[in-house]
């Protein structure tokens, strides 16, 4: 190039025309192929999940001890005596999630409103990292917290007779604490995305800060907030270690939050933590539970994404 030959001959004045033809760039092609494979691994992961859960679930339902009707209708889950009714696990899961949401949704939304509508720049820059720390603590630590702090606290408040050592209330509350940062940060993103002109319009009509926040900004960001809530629910349903440690070890069809009960995730962990022989009905059964769990959380996530997409369209 800077070398004599080409540099001199290609200056306009008449050299041979340049060869612009495509040259094979083998390395580029290989790299691009490799990168594509990297992306495709995610598809393989999903396929893997679906196939694994599906296959083992099929084996489970094909077992003569199992009856699809009893699976979705039964209120007793006792693999030892061949009772496979999913309801005790489902009620425990939903109870813990419900309690978690009762904690996380109001708290998370309030925090989001405070951060987005009230807090100054400085306060935000201090408070948000604190919430991030909360979000970065491993769940097993939260489980420890539930068992050694929340449960004794509940037992002091409600009485030792009423509150069992293992109970869904304690686990649920701590799951709630766990997902607060998720709710607040997602909601805050939605609230901050509301254009300032809306706020100014509201103040211009003589609304107070609270009225602006609650009647104008939150409704305008409602779909984003709703998406945050749904993601939080999905997260709570899938949460495992807190319930495995604090909620109890044994399926129990109960609606009392102070009794021990085992959630779907807790059950999977307990069964797979023991000596599990492959192709036993126990082994297959946890995959069936896993499939149900996967479908529930997946549909919640898809729902939230759908809501977010609609929300974006409204503002563009």
């Amino acid at each position: 190039m800077a070398g004599a030959g080409q540099g001199d001959t290609t200056v306009p004045g008449g050299g041979p025309p340049l060869d612009l033809r495509r040259k094979p760039r083998l390395a580029e092609t290989i790299i691009q192929g490799f990168l594509f494979l990297c992306g495709a691994i995610s598809i393989l992961t999903t396929l893997g999940i679906v196939l694994v859960l599906g296959r083992e679930s099929l084996l489970f339902f094909a077992n003569e001890e199992v009856d699809l009707l009893k699976f979705f209708g039964g209120t007793e889950w006792q693999p030892a005596i061949g009772r496979f009714g999913i309801w005790p696990l489902v009620t425990a899961t939903f109870m813990a999630s419900l309690i978690a949401m009762a904690v996380a949704l109001p708290m998370g939304l309030c925090i989001a409103i405070y951060l987005s509508e009230y807090a100054g720049h400085r306060a935000r820059s201090i408070l948000k990292p604190i919430l991030e720390v909360l979000a970065g603590i491993p769940t097993v630590v939260y489980g420890y917290f539930a068992l050694t702090f929340m449960t004794p606290l509940l037992r002091v408040i409600f009485g030792r007779d009423l509150v069992e050592i293992y109970n869904t209330a304690s686990a649920g509350i701590v799951i709630g604490i766990l997902v607060i940062p998720l709710v607040s940060s997602m909601s805050e993103d939605a609230l901050s995305a509301v254009p300032n002109s809306l706020r100014q319009a509201s103040y211009g009509l003589g609304a107070t800060r609270l009225e602006t926040a609650v009647r104008i900004v939150v409704p305008a960001a409602l779909s984003g907030v709703a998406a945050a809530f749904i993601v939080a629910i999905s997260r709570a349903i899938g949460e495992t270690m807190i319930v495995a440690i604090a909620a109890g070890a044994g399926p129990n069809f109960t609606f009392s939050p102070f009794r021990a009960a085992e959630t779907m995730t807790g059950h999977i962990v307990r069964i797979s933590g023991g000596d599990l022989s492959y192709d036993s009905i126990d082994y297959n059964s946890i995959f069936a539970i896993g499939l149900l769990l996967f479908l529930i959380t997946l549909s919640l996530n898809i729902l939230s994404q759908w809501i977010v997409r609609r929300f974006r369209e409204e503002y563009e």
Binding site: M1, A2, G3, G7, T10, V11, P12, G13, G14, P16, P17, L18, D19, L20, R21, R22, K23
Partner: protein, 277 residues
């Protein structure tokens, strides 16, 4: 040389192709080019020739597609996925949009300087050296860097701080560094998209002087909003306008002197005299 036989054949096909003394009069020849962004037709029916070793200016109101046209000359538009280009752009007789043509080769021969100075976040030296290195240069790099920086009239200002970050230079120096970077790989043509619009008048003058110097060796096509600049530096001028669909089109292309003193189109005159609606 089979290629030598091939070339005159091709150039004869070109609209105003003339092969004087066996060389191309035109560095770039555009024939009936339309550019679309998705369904939106940004520029339609452009035909023009940029003469070799001259400065061609492209002027016109904002949004008329000057940058779009310029980017078509070195396939920079390929980076925008929605773009579709029709017609042909001949570079030394070869249509650069031919399927067999490698855009990387095209860009290596047709350099570009952008509106905002965009040096790499590396040292000054590395900024100049990088392009040549990836194109396989293996000679005396120090010498090449010095030559490029001298050609861009930047050497005296930076010769003591070659190993410092290019981001520490002033805007005008950065822009000249970008020019040095472009000429280091020894292209045939340099495309400049409003190269001085982010600079103060002094820095602008330096860039203009530089363009004049460079035009002895390089074909330069420059987009500018600055009418005086076009009049001062360019040999030829293309005037673009937009129609009601916001589609740009070429109004006229001629000697700069003619465009600025005696344009054949009314709208050109209006635009140049500032009476543009």
């Amino acid at each position: 040389m089979s290629i030598a036989i091939e070339r005159p054949l091709r150039t004869e096909e070109g609209p105003n192709a003339a092969s004087q003394n066996g060389m191309n009069r035109y560095a770039i020849e555009v024939g009936a080019m339309n550019v679309f962004y998705g369904d939106f037709c940004a520029v339609r029916d452009v035909s023009m020739q940029a003469p070799t070793n001259k400065i061609t200016a492209i002027i016109g109101p904002s949004g008329c597609g000057k940058s779009t046209v310029l980017r078509c000359f070195n396939r920079m538009n390929d980076l925008i996925s929605s773009v579709r280009i029709e017609g042909k752009v001949l570079f030394q007789g070869q249509n650069i949009y031919d399927v067999s043509v490698d855009p990387v080769e095209v860009r290596r021969r047709i350099g570009m300087v952008f509106q905002k100075p965009n040096p790499f976040p590396k040292t000054i030296y590395e900024n100049v050296a990088w392009g040549t290195r990836i194109n396989g240069f293996k000679g005396d790099m120090d010498e090449l860097v010095e030559r490029a920086l001298r050609a861009a009239a930047l050497w005296d200002e930076v010769k003591d701080k070659l190993q410092q970050s290019a981001l520490g230079l002033s805007g005008g120096q950065q822009q000249r560094l970008c020019i040095a970077r472009a000429i280091a790989v020894e292209p045939e043509i340099i495309l400049m998209d409003e190269p001085a619009s982010a600079l103060d008048p002094i820095a602008t003058l330096r860039i203009e002087d530089l363009m004049k110097e460079l035009s002895e060796q390089y074909t330069i096509i420059v987009v500018t909003h600055n009418m005086q600049q076009a009049a001062r530096v360019s040999d030829y001028t293309a005037f673009f306008n937009v129609d009601d669909n916001r589609t740009g089109y070429l109004i006229e292309f001629d000697d700069t002197e003619k465009i600025f003193t005696n344009p054949s189109q009314k709208s050109t005159e209006d635009y140049i005299t500032g009476r543009f609606g």
